[in-house]
Symmetry: none
Subunit: 405 residues, 2 copies
């Protein structure tokens, strides 16, 4: 067989960086002999996941990397989070990310309600008592997080959020465009805020928290509003049956909304303590039954957001050790990349290109022998865009879409 048959697409979330300690990056400083070997056997390049200088969100980045055009399908992160936490969203639904928060006299005192860890009972109360002027679904997620989905006719994602994103006044939602659907949706959102505050105010959980000197979770702030897009299933676009292995709701949600099978992993947390060894075991299993496996490993991004160079470096060293247990040969194309750069110096996403490598049958290879931002910039793939990656991989599988004759 002259072409590869399967694809393992590994996203080291936020792994790319800018020069930090001693002008090196965490990828350079980490001990990653397995990735370096893949680099030696494969081809490297750098990639503008969205466009040069544009910091990607994790959502738009993953959509691009999977071959979708975010500008056509993306209106906000809510729909993917909602799908990720298990809500069976439908095209046209309006979805929000939510935070349980502590509000006092209309002012947000803590956006995470003292990092409350279990909002199960509070969410149950909201589900039971809330009455909105449309069908809705509300579900708690990890920690202080939740999602709200509005369903029905005459709804619009063109409304402002209620989360001020820092301490300060809780916001009223306003229509962003002057049409009946947006005005109606803003009204429903504000109604949600009022009713939720009232439902949570005297909830036994909050009374207990106040007695225990913990901040009460007495409001839910909404952000990331988006309309659930109609996405052509990944398998329909590519002919590849696909699975997603990830810890974060967002990536799981993108997998679900593109029709991938979600394979849960015990101990996968999305943090630097995540059970990545178990994830790699699941990848090996998943590749037996799937032609495409998307593996997202989140920890490096978190360390970047925390501004912790050493944590990022050590996590990448641990990732390399875990990935070295992959049981793959040249008939599986392996892609290693990041969805965006999260410099420890910035603590947020930047628009720098990310390094990537492709290893497997048919790849032209190059002279590179290490995987990091600097070496990748001299790789044989030069510089491509995120949206180009899937066509390149499909072509390596011998399934390129020819234009012309």
């Amino acid at each position: 067989m002259c072409v590869a048959k399967k694809i393992l697409f590994v996203v080291l979330d936020g792994a790319a960086d800018r020069p930090a300690v001693d002008k090196t990056t965490p990828l350079q400083a980490a001990d990653i002999p397995f990735l370096d070997r893949l680099a030696q056997e494969g081809i490297l390049g750098i990639m503008d996941v969205i466009a040069p200088g544009t910091p990607p969100g994790s959502d738009t980045a993953h959509l691009s990397l999977l071959g979708y055009t975010p500008s056509e399908v993306y209106t906000g992160r809510g729909p993917f989070e909602a799908a990720g936490v298990g809500i069976d969203v439908r095209p046209g639904d309006i979805a929000f990310r939510g935070n349980f928060a502590t509000v006092k006299d209309g002012l947000v005192v803590d956006r995470r309600a003292g990092r409350i860890s279990d909002t199960h009972e509070l969410s149950e109360a909201i589900r039971k008592q809330l009455r909105l002027d449309c069908e809705f679904l509300f579900k708690e997620s990890a920690g202080h997080r939740a999602v709200l989905v509005l369903r029905g006719e005459d709804l619009s994602p063109s409304v402002t959020q209620t989360d001020p994103q820092h301490t300060g006044a809780m916001l009223h939602s306003k229509p962003k465009t002057n049409d009946a659907s947006s005005r109606r949706t803003a009204n429903i959102v504000n109604d949600f805020t009022r009713q939720v505050c009232s439902i949570l105010a005297d909830h036994p959980v909050n009374r207990e928290r106040t007695l225990a000197n913990q901040l009460p979770a007495n409001a839910v702030l909404l952000r990331g509003v988006g309309s659930v897009p109609q996405l052509v299933p990944f398998e329909q676009r590519t002919g590849l049956n696909a699975a997603v292995i990830a810890a974060t709701a967002l990536v799981i949600g993108i997998g679900k909304l593109t029709g991938m099978r979600y394979i849960p992993t015990k101990g996968a947390t999305g943090h630097v303590d995540s059970n990545i060894e178990e994830k790699v075991k699941n990848v090996n299993k998943a590749l037996r039954e799937h032609a495409f496996v998307l593996l997202n490993i989140k920890g490096a991004d978190e360390a970047g957001h925390d501004g912790n160079f050493n944590a990022k470096m050590h996590f990448l060293t641990r990732v390399d050790a875990a990935l070295s247990n992959l049981t793959i040969d040249e008939s599986t194309l392996v892609v290693i990349t990041a969805d965006h750069t999260t410099p420890v110096s910035l603590r947020e996403h930047s628009g720098d290109p990310v390094p990537f490598l492709i290893r497997g049958k048919g790849v032209r290879t190059d002279q590179t022998n290490a995987f990091n931002e600097y070496i990748a910039a001299g790789g044989g793939m030069n510089r491509i865009r995120g949206r180009d990656m899937m066509p390149v991989l499909m072509d390596l599988l011998g399934k390129g879409t020819k234009f012309g004759a």
Copy 2:
């Protein structure tokens, strides 16, 4: 004079490859001292002729390389083949490529009618006896090939082809869109099929073939339908009077439809046995009278489609020797590239980028000193698209189109 004055654009059709024997490509394995010298004196890069991962057709590739936008002007290969075999096609004509074939009881037994070599008499019979519901032109081409052009009002390229492209039932043409023109065109095509079968059935040539135990050419299969585009002449776009030197009808047709002068070459076959020495002599002559010469050398593509590494390598060695007789100096920009990659491992076009070099006055040059896929990936031009090549060359002639003041 500080800028070059002329351009020689050499397309080594399908010359690019993926790593094959011992991880090398035919370009790497071939002995090409002349091209290596041009590489040393010039600048290299890699090029996505259409887009990363998109396998180009030879038609869309040449259009891109000449600065046209295929997505705007290309509907199918037929128009270019028709122009290439000498039909004076007009914008709006509907043109097909055709194959004389052997059909028995409605089943295609051989798509090439036993590789019949001369269809002159059969074609003459079709021209004389065929009556269609619109003006038409039918012309035989090399071997079993032919072209059909339909002319008149209310015709459409939005119809399916009759060539099944493998043995099996001959297809009925169907409208691809539900409009009167497409329905009418499909009817005309099916009428063509019926009448041609009847004209050829008892033709003396076929009676002789059957007696000699050869397959009769008793049908004509159509494919590659397209509407003849209105192309702004190349000279009007660039100010460069241009000539095309090529063996294949397609490239000749693209030259003709863009208003280039076609200079025929004795012994140019489009195969690995082609008289490329004579082509190079013609290039030297053509450059005296033309500011732009497009030279297409086809053999490497054929060897790629045959999966023959050695044939491809030896042909490229021979091409290099022939090109070393070019009488050009730095005032002529030389471009050497391929229109697409045709890996011997795939036997068809792939979407890998192609290497290119530009040598001549004003070029920045780089550190490269050999012409192949690997070295080019490290060249000073980095990675561009096919559509960018003509603007780059025009700019090197001091004729760039400035944007702004």
